[in-house]
């Protein structure tokens, strides 16, 4: 069998009697109609190139950076820690001595809790 006769045979061979039945066609179209709701929406037909998106992102970044509040600059020479400690010591000394000490308050609260438990017959 030569090349030409084989090609001729390939082009003529498929069985043209095979066709889609009316029922199959109806099934297809029913599914198509059902899928109408989930169909992808038509696109606008134009696209944004990558370089354009990049430029837009840069422009937005520059704009927002200009709008941002200025931060307090960090001093070049740090303050002396010795003077800070002295100032803190003075502040602590100035606190009123009569202020309740938290530990004492906690002990009182604990005693109250113990007496309540004893009253209800619960052993701590």
């Amino acid at each position: 069998m030569n090349k030409e006769s084989l090609q001729q045979l390939l082009r003529s061979a498929p069985d043209t009697r095979v066709s889609v039945s009316a029922r199959q066609h109806q099934d297809i179209m029913r599914e198509v109609r059902l899928s109408n709701a989930t169909r992808k929406q038509p696109s606008t037909g134009w696209t944004i190139p990558a370089w354009g998106a990049g430029m837009a992102a840069t422009a937005m970044a520059v704009f927002y950076m200009a709008q941002a509040p200025q931060l307090t600059p960090i001093p070049a020479v740090p303050e002396k820690t010795g003077s800070s400690w002295a100032a803190l010591e003075q502040k602590l000394a100035a606190l009123p001595q009569e202020a309740a000490i938290p530990e004492t308050e906690l002990e009182k609260e604990l005693e109250r809790l113990k007496s309540d438990l004893a009253r209800f017959g619960i052993k701590s």
Binding site: A13, I28, N36
Partner: protein, 193 residues
């Protein structure tokens, strides 16, 4: 880049892209038989071919707005169908399909007659001889009259692959047919004796 495509078809595609189901139905009528023949030849069973046909048209309708006439509509449609068929053939067969396959192994008298008629069909030999991609390339090129570039686009292979494999497939098929003919004539001689 646009391709050779009848103007009437472009109008139908445009209308279907706008959402006209009637226009899409005309496209279905035009392509359903050709696509069905291809899927029947390619699929492992009739159920897969029928499912792939239906799913291909549904997917085509759903994604039609994204179709651009870079290739012919038929190329785009066959690409979708090949993908659907690939997806279906990966799944496990259902018990009904297995029983269908088993029953096909023992055909009745009517089926035997049809089978005998088809046994020497060139495409049946091609299906048995060639791999999936080679068979698809041959079918699209010879039956669907696609160009080598369109075949490449449909099966996602480079043009060089299509050219080489069309030639190799032809050679392999030619050898297989000669073998078939010699086996057939040997059987006839044995019966005559």
């Amino acid at each position: 880049m646009t391709v050779r495509q009848p103007e009437s078809e472009l109008i139908l595609i445009d209308r279907a892209q706008q959402g006209s189901v009637d226009a899409f139905e005309k496209l279905v009528f035009k392509y359903q038989d050709g696509l069905y023949r291809f899927l029947l030849a390619r699929a492992h069973n009739r159920a897969d071919a029928e499912d792939a046909l239906q799913e291909a048209f549904v997917a085509a309708y759903r994604y039609l707005p994204s179709y651009r006439p870079r290739y012919r509509f038929s190329t785009w449609l066959f690409t979708i169908a090949i993908r659907q068929l690939g997806r279906l053939s990966k799944r496990q067969p259902t018990p009904e399909e297995i029983s269908e396959t088993v029953s096909c192994e023992r055909p009745g008298p009517e089926q035997l007659g049809i089978q005998a008629e088809q046994e020497h069909s060139i495409w049946r030999t091609a299906r048995a001889t060639l791999g999936d991609a080679q068979f698809t390339a041959m079918w699209l090129f010879y039956v669907e009259d696609m160009t080598v570039a369109e075949v490449g686009a449909a099966i996602k292979r480079p043009v060089s692959w299509v050219k080489v494999n069309l030639m190799r497939s032809r050679q392999r098929l030619g050898r297989a047919l000669q073998l078939d003919n010699s086996e057939h004539s040997a059987t006839v001689t044995e019966v005559a004796l």
